[in-house]
């Protein structure tokens, strides 16, 4: 008889329940990703002239084995555009000279926009959002401090191991001055940013759900492991027994993420208020109190006058309405001052983040149910990847966990990160499931290259900038995206990388480019443009979210509201900000086209561009077309293209502004603009 799926699941669960340690650790440990990283020797290749970096040797060796040739180098202007988007997420300055590529790459990485571009990648991984999401969509009004921390870290090329440690346990690190201490505490926002069921009536469940979210995020983001799967049963595919899950959970149970679990629960924030801040706040509060007194005194006086004037013994209802004109005006003035003061709340600076609580061990909760506690699990790291020694009872274990993850001998951390970087450059990772390196993940297409990169990354001080330079200076990155017939036949999906991928701009570069080419982009770095009271629900009682996105700052500074993401982001595959996602989708759907055809943002951009073009009185139409092509496509038009465009504006309609605007829009909605080739 065929075994039904239901029976199978029952058996699996039953087996998992009967013995928490039935997982064969020794067997599970044999999985490729759990093997120590060994730097492989560089393979030999025939076409040595093509090789620019060791990366190319790995790629070429495979191509040669398959009988394929790498594509020729991309045209310099295409490559320049590609490099600028890779590093800054913005188009090159029009008509800028192409210095040698090596220098160009270095220069671009030294701009503040580099940190913004790369921070946004990392924010995808850490499910960054400015609101909690779920049922109680409370404002993370201070999340931006974490965002700024990430931007600064990428710009400063903070070693990735240090970056990891700070995000898990920055608050526990020795301090090197007040500024560093503040940064390190802000970094722990990583653990606090997740969506939480803030109105969960079962407080223990709420706490365990928050811990689960932390473990899940930490596992996927840093280790490429779906640790969260082991909450209710031993991991079905990876060697993570439930016991190991609760050993980890104990570390987070020993950590303070929440200040209050009472509905609506409040997450903890690190306070950065100095005595000076507090003084200012007190001063402001005193001002309010004084103004209140002034209002009351005035009302009392006016009431008294009223009684005298109207010869009354008792005040009428709504006495203010019967005041003299002068008194009414004066009272309104005093009240408006009071209102202004009250609205202008003095907020003490703070940031989301965690600190240590009491060190405790948790029991296994059978089937994830905290009402069914099993055996106590001393805190330790997953045994398949560590010695499994218990952590001291004197500490939470968070710092130890951070150091274990960021250790050069951890087989996953460096592999996962270099694969992410590769994914962000090529649109596909060497492991195509960048958040899952477990059994259910996909095996690497180039395992030796992955290991070589991981080893190189660690040897080079975990420097992301160096890694980016290495990749961008490779012949592999610099290939044209044009396929040849043999490649389409033998390797149609380009797994072997005989050409560069053709990539559509992501939501943020698309939006930023539109503002940039129309001269509107504000390149101010850091801070927040979204002012919202912390912990307040972003949806009002009528389920309206009043957040606007009209700012000309870069897209990374636009608020990310969970359950209600900015429509442009939503349309162009911005990831769900509630979960780890290092692998954005790339869809092609009609509403995107409607956006490019009809949205106010695109219209505003094109109207601005047309106005600027027409303001250049010295230019003739051919020169205007050239200016436009250079801005939008980073190249000059051919003679035919130029003629065609000039004919279009001459024939489109009587109004010059409208005609040029239509031309601008045709260009920015065309594939040559939207795609990086």
């Amino acid at each position: 008889m065929k075994m039904t799926a239901r029976m199978l699941v029952f058996l699996l669960v039953a087996t998992a329940l009967s013995a928490a340690d039935k997982i064969d650790l020794a067997k599970g440990q044999k999985h490729w990703a759990f093997q120590p990283v060994k730097k492989p020797a560089l393979p030999t290749v025939k076409n040595k002239a093509w090789v620019k970096t060791p990366i190319d040797q790995f790629i070429l060796a495979r191509l040669e084995k398959a009988g394929l040739q790498p594509a020729p180098a991309a045209a310099p202007r295409d490559l320049q555009r590609r490099i600028h988007y890779a590093l800054r997420g913005l188009p090159p300055v029009p008509n800028s000279k192409i210095v040698d590529l090596k220098s160009e790459i270095k220069i671009q990485m030294a701009t503040p926009q580099y940190g913004e571009r790369w921070a946004r990648h990392w924010l995808d991984v850490v499910r960054y959002a400015d609101s909690n999401g779920l049922d109680e969509n409370a404002a993370h009004a201070n999340a931006w401090r974490y965002r700024d921390y990430v931007v600064t870290s990428f710009n400063a090329d903070k070693p990735f191991d240090q970056f990891v440690i700070e995000q898990i346990a920055g608050d526990l690190l020795p301090t090197k001055g007040e500024a560093a201490r503040r940064e390190q505490r802000i970094a722990t926002g990583f653990l606090s940013l997740g969506p939480k069921v803030l109105a969960e009536p079962d407080k223990m469940k709420m706490e365990m759900d928050i811990i689960d979210e932390q473990i899940d995020t930490l596992g996927k983001a840093l280790l490429g492991l779906t640790l969260g799967c082991a909450r209710c049963h031993d991991h079905k595919f990876d060697p993570i027994p439930t016991a190991d899950y609760y050993a980890l959970a104990g570390i987070f149970k020993s950590t303070k993420t929440m200040d209050s679990l009472k509905t609506i629960a409040k997450w903890h924030e690190h306070s950065f208020a100095t005595p000076a801040h507090k003084k200012l706040k007190e001063k402001h509060e005193a001002l309010i109190a004084t103004q209140k007194k002034v209002v009351n005194a005035f009302t009392a006086k006016a009431n008294q006058q009223l009684l005298v004037e109207l010869k009354l013994e008792k005040l009428p209802t709504n006495p203010e309405g019967k005041y003299s004109k002068t008194n009414q005006v004066e009272l309104a003035k005093l009240n408006s001052t009071l209102k202004r003061l009250e609205a202008d709340v003095y907020v003490l600076p703070s940031a989301m983040g965690v600190e240590d609580g009491n060190a405790t061990n948790l029991p296994i909760f059978v089937r994830g149910n905290h009402e069914r506690p099993g055996e106590i699990q001393p805190r330790h790291f997953p045994r398949a990847l560590s010695d499994g020694k218990p952590i001291s009872d004197k500490v939470s274990g968070r710092l130890e966990l951070a150091q274990w993850i960021a250790n050069r001998n951890n087989p996953l951390t460096a592999r996962v990160m270099v694969n992410r970087v590769w994914r962000w450059h090529f649109g596909r990772g060497l492991v195509t499931t960048p958040d899952n390196f477990g059994k259910l993940g996909v095996k690497p297409s180039h395992p030796e290259l992955l290991d070589w990169l991981a080893a190189w990354f660690v040897e080079n001080g975990w420097s992301v900038k160096k890694l980016n330079a290495l990749i961008l200076n490779s012949a592999t990155f610099q290939m044209s995206s044009m396929p040849n017939a043999a490649a389409l036949e033998i390797d149609p999906t380009n797994v072997l990388m005989s050409r560069a991928p053709l990539r559509r701009m992501e939501a943020e570069p698309l939006r930023d480019s539109l503002l940039q080419i129309s001269g509107q982009l504000d390149l101010k770095v850091g801070g927040t443009i979204w002012t919202f009271e912390n912990y307040k629900l972003v949806f009002n009682h009528t389920s309206e979210d009043a957040t606007t996105y009209n700012s000309n700052r870069r897209a990374i500074y636009l608020p990310v509201i969970r359950n209600h993401v900015y429509d442009l982001f939503e349309l162009f595959d911005f990831p769900d900000p509630g979960t780890v996602n290092g692998n954005r989708a790339d869809t092609t759907i009609a509403p995107q086209s409607l956006y490019l055809m009809n949205s106010p943002l695109v219209h505003r951009t094109c109207a601005t561009m047309a106005k600027q073009l027409l303001a250049e009185k010295k230019l003739n139409n051919t020169e205007r077309v050239e200016w436009l092509y250079v801005k939008v496509y980073n190249r000059k038009p051919t003679a035919n293209e130029s003629k065609r465009a000039v004919a279009f504006v001459n024939e489109f309609c009587q109004e010059r502004q409208a005609s040029w605007q239509a031309l601008c829009q045709a260009l920015v909605s065309s594939n040559e603009f939207l795609y990086l080739k």
Partner: protein
């Protein structure tokens, strides 16, 4: 300039738009077009696994959770015990509950089948009792909105899985290349958890629901960016011709590229949608007697638009009661349920009658219900409303090959827990897919190294529900 003369005169550009599109389309055969991801053709019509009864789905979502004992599952025993504690212990629900609360409404039998229905749905019952296939033994997993919405819509309470509508479009493709295959209407904004209710998750983005805020009557507000504020249709065509000529040049240099071809096609779809959508959502084009039958309220408008979308081949339409969770009547149930049902009753009666008269009901599967039901006991402290109840609740199906005038399964004598012929949400999904000609165990999508299903590893087709 009205004809693209300068395109024709230029060797760099292909001759006409038609020819150009024909050329770029050849790579795909049946090119279609609401979207495309990674070179697939998500919207091409696909053959079901076996002969279907239903071709389309309408899901009427009573979000918040309507009370079964006040609508389609009469419980005389509860009325008898009104005000007293139940002789059994209350099940663990979200909040604290107390004594039994009999339904404040009366029930009557309708149609040849004699199906008992509450007075608050009298018109629906009078018009279509013999079409309704009432499932009184529904069961979900937890008494919380969010996971229950996810379970009902996506087949899993917690993990990010694709929605039912996305699966159906993935399985069957589209019947109208000018409109999205999955349309979601919700007046006033979003239900809770918002777009996650109609997400495509790991399925290609083309399958996700397109949300319309049906509080608006103007099509420009219904669909984002549906109209160009500056250009006439012919001007826009002219502009699009130029953009497509630029695209043709860009593409020509590179041989076939499915991504670029898809982008080109989606612009054409978007262009067509502008007029098609304007037409389909304009209910003023309906004769007066039809509009009057549906009534002038929001739900009448939603259901009339739904019928027009069905006629044009839209595969999956989800219609919500409103933003937030309107049916979540922890307090003041009598008044609130009466009001909510009152807003639906006449439009529902008109909709089902209209579909039947047009011969659409047989091939349209209608699902009515919430994410769960409500407790037969009253909730503290007000004791005039009901708490969430996932142990037993009611949904009904109509049309699309279901068994009309039939009540399936049963809850206990108080309406608390489903006890007879229990239908889990997975079973409902399996059954609905079956009616669409899809085997829920074979409708799979490979993601992260595993084949996923709407029903995960669960679900059984409930044969009794089939007509």
């Amino acid at each position: 300039m009205n004809s693209p003369s300068s395109i024709q005169g230029n060797a760099e550009f292909v001759t006409t738009r038609r020819e150009f599109l024909a050329r770029t389309g050849t790579g795909f055969g049946m090119m279609a077009l609401a979207g495309l991801a990674n070179g697939e053709q998500p919207h091409a019509p696909k053959a079901p696994h076996f002969a279907p009864k239903a071709k389309r789905v309408v899901h009427l979502f009573m979000n918040g959770g309507p009370s079964q004992v006040d609508t389609f599952d009469p419980k005389p025993m509860l009325t008898k015990l009104h005000g007293q504690p139940l002789p059994v212990k209350n099940f663990r629900t979200e909040r604290r509950t107390g004594h039994a609360m009999g339904s404040p409404y009366s029930f009557k039998q309708y149609g040849q089948s004699g199906l008992p229905v509450s007075e608050i749905f009298a018109k629906t019952a009078a018009a279509a009792a013999d079409d309704l296939c009432v499932i009184r033994s529904m069961k979900a997993e937890v008494p919380n909105h969010e996971p229950s919405l996810m379970l009902m819509n996506c087949g899993d309470g917690q993990l990010p899985r694709p929605s039912f509508g996305a699966w159906v479009n993935y399985g069957l493709g589209t019947m109208n290349e000018n409109l999205p295959g999955f349309i979601v209407m919700c007046p006033g904004g979003y239900p809770i958890v918002a777009t996650r209710n109609w997400r495509s998750a790991f399925l290609p983005g083309a399958y996700q629901g397109t949300h319309l805020d049906t509080k608006h009557t103007d099509v420009t507000k219904l669909i984002a960016n549906i109209r160009n504020s500056r250009l006439s249709t012919s001007e826009q065509r002219q502009q699009l011709d130029l953009a497509q000529a630029l695209n043709a040049r860009h593409l020509k240099a590179r041989a076939a590229d499915p991504q670029l071809e898809a982008r080109i096609q989606t612009f054409e779809l978007a262009f067509r949608m502008q007029s098609e959508a304007t037409d389909v959502f304009d209910i003023k084009r309906e004769p007066k007697h039809i509009r009057e039958a549906y009534g002038s309220g929001t739900h009448g408008r939603q259901l009339l638009m739904t019928r027009r979308l069905l006629e044009r081949g839209v595969r999956f339409i989800q219609v919500w009661s409103g933003n937030g969770q309107p049916w979540d009547n922890h307090n003041g149930l009598e008044k609130n349920h009466r009001k909510l049902a009152g807003e639906w009753d006449q439009p529902l009666a008109a909709f089902l009658t209209d579909l039947r008269q047009r011969g659409l009901l047989d091939s349209t599967l209608v699902l009515w219900g919430g994410e769960f039901g409500r407790t037969p006991v009253a909730e503290y402290p007000a004791l005039n409303g009901r708490d969430h109840n996932h142990y037993g609740f009611t949904c009904w199906l109509a049309g699309g090959g279901t068994r009309g005038g039939y009540a399936h399964g049963a809850t206990d004598e108080f309406g608390f827990r489903a006890v007879k012929d229990v239908v889990h949400v997975h079973d409902l999904h399996a059954t609905m897919l079956h009616l669409l000609g899809l085997d829920h165990e074979r409708l799979t999508y490979r993601h992260a190294g595993r084949d996923f299903r709407l029903t995960d590893v669960h679900g059984n087709v409930v044969k009794e529900l089939l007509g």
